[in-house]
């Protein structure tokens, strides 16, 4: 009987605590600056060394000849596993993660050429709430 009472009091005690939930569209989790989200390429720094293509575990990166006569990486978001190997391997730091992991598409056209690499929703998101 006492155990059951204790169970009920433990449960009722929780009713008076604020919920822990991150209310997603209004609040966003603060994952810190290392969070691996969208990958963007800074063309001014890119030296077209193709090291990112070589280290990619999912072969998600392919190089494309662009209008300025140089080759830049395009990413296949149907293969990219966001492991960050390409960012780590990049000798100049031109490939960077954006703190935005909400990568959602409504069609299968998920291969992004270098010219389409930065979709509108790849912008960094405000991080407001932290559980820890």
């Amino acid at each position: 009987m006492i155990t059951h009472l204790k169970l009920f009091t433990t449960a009722v005690k929780q009713l008076f605590q604020p919920p822990l939930t991150v209310r997603w569209p209004e609040e966003r989790r603060n994952y810190g600056d290392r969070m691996r989200g969208f990958i963007v390429n800074d063309r001014s720094k890119c030296i077209s060394c193709q090291l990112c293509e070589a280290v990619c575990p999912a072969k998600a990166i392919k190089f494309h000849l662009e209008a300025d006569g140089r080759r830049y990486p395009g990413i296949d978001w149907g293969r990219c596993i966001l492991c960050g190997y390409c960012v780590d391997a990049c000798p100049t730091g031109s490939l960077q993660h954006v703190n935005n992991t909400e990568i959602v598409w409504t069609d299968l056209d998920v291969y992004k050429k270098p010219s389409e690499m930065d979709p509108d929703d790849a912008a960094p998101l405000p991080a407001t709430k932290s559980l820890i």
Binding site: L7, F8, A11, Q14, L15, P19, L20
Partner: protein, 324 residues
């Protein structure tokens, strides 16, 4: 009669409380309250965005519309007529005992001197329809769910009957009005606490709440008797459970908590409603507290401790009535 003449008591009882409006309002509020309460115990919000200012109160309504407008699947291998008819029958049969229970003086559909006894018997008879429903679905998981339902019914119906009997013996009547009148001094819960405890546990078993949520145990038998139902039939099949909770808590409020006392009329109805919360709130909260028992453990509780307790409650009543 406190009500103006065009609104006679039985009409109010049939349409507003404890009749149609009460049942459907209870369905919406209870489902919302259950999800909200459980969510708050679990450090989260529960239904929220569907109606932000109301705290997600419209969530059951949205579910209802979704279910009504989704495709109805009638399996080919079943008896389709029975497949469609049993959940509807079950839903209304679960609500039938309300006819004999008064929510306030005069607010009763069919006044009868054995009203409460009839209501108890009706509540217990409905389990047959539940089993029939599970049987017509012709699915292995529903068979097992039906078997568990039968076993569980066998475990709770004797203690439930004995608990009600103890109270009838104590009061010397089964007329809802007289039962409440007798309690004007002391409520039934104080006169016979044993019967109250038995009734509470039997209510959890009868409405298959945790820890006795065994017929529809998800990891073993998917949804038990409700597995094959979708669309509108699911509302009837699943809503029947909540109707049963409504009926049993109304019965409990009248039987143990003095019904509409100390008021009458519209206020009395509200007081009855509030007293139902004593049964409904724990029944909602246990979902967040307990896992479920195995069927053999539930049977051991039902045929063991619960039966002994209910027999003791009857003896207590006999003694009390004799001393009185």
């Amino acid at each position: 009669m406190d009500f103006p003449s065009p609104l006679s008591g039985d009409l109010v009882a049939a349409l507003v409380f404890p009749g149609v409006l009460g049942i459907f309002g209870f369905l919406v509020v209870a489902i919302w309250l259950e999800r909200k309460l459980v969510a708050r115990v679990q450090w989260r919000y529960g239904p929220l965005y569907v109606s932000r200012p109301l705290g997600g109160l419209l969530q059951p309504v949205a579910d209802l519309f979704k279910l009504v407008f989704s495709e109805l699947v009638l399996p080919r291998h079943t008896n389709r007529l029975l497949f469609a008819a049993t959940p509807i029958l079950l839903f209304f049969a679960e609500g039938l005992p309300v006819v004999f229970i008064a929510a306030a003086p005069g607010v009763v559909m069919a006044p009868h001197s054995y009203g409460l006894a009839i209501a108890v018997v009706l509540v217990l008879l409905v389990a047959v329809l539940m089993v029939a429903m599970a049987w017509t679905e012709a699915d292995k998981f529903t068979y097992i769910g039906a078997m568990r339902e039968i076993l569980l019914t066998a475990a709770y119906e004797v203690p439930l009957l004995l608990a009600a009997l103890a109270m009838f013996l104590l009061y010397g009547t089964a007329d809802p009005h007289k039962v409440v009148e007798v309690q004007s001094g002391l409520w039934g819960v104080l006169l016979n606490p044993l019967a109250f405890v038995v009734y509470l546990v039997a209510l959890l078993m009868a409405t298959t709440r945790f820890p006795f949520e065994i017929p529809e145990a998800e990891p073993e038998v998917v949804l038990g008797p409700y597995t094959e139902y979708g669309s509108t039939l699911f509302i009837y099949a699943f809503g029947a459970n909540y109707v049963k909770l409504y009926v049993l808590s109304l019965l409990g409020a009248v039987l143990f908590l003095g019904g509409w006392l100390p008021a009458a009329g519209v206020l009395g109805v509200l007081i009855t409603l509030a007293k139902m919360g004593v049964f409904v709130l724990p029944a909602m909260l246990v979902r967040a507290i307990y896992p479920r028992y195995r069927i053999d453990q539930a049977l051991r509780i039902g045929w063991g401790q619960l039966l002994a307790l209910s027999a003791a409650a009857v003896l207590w009543s006999l003694l009390a009535a004799w001393i009185w």
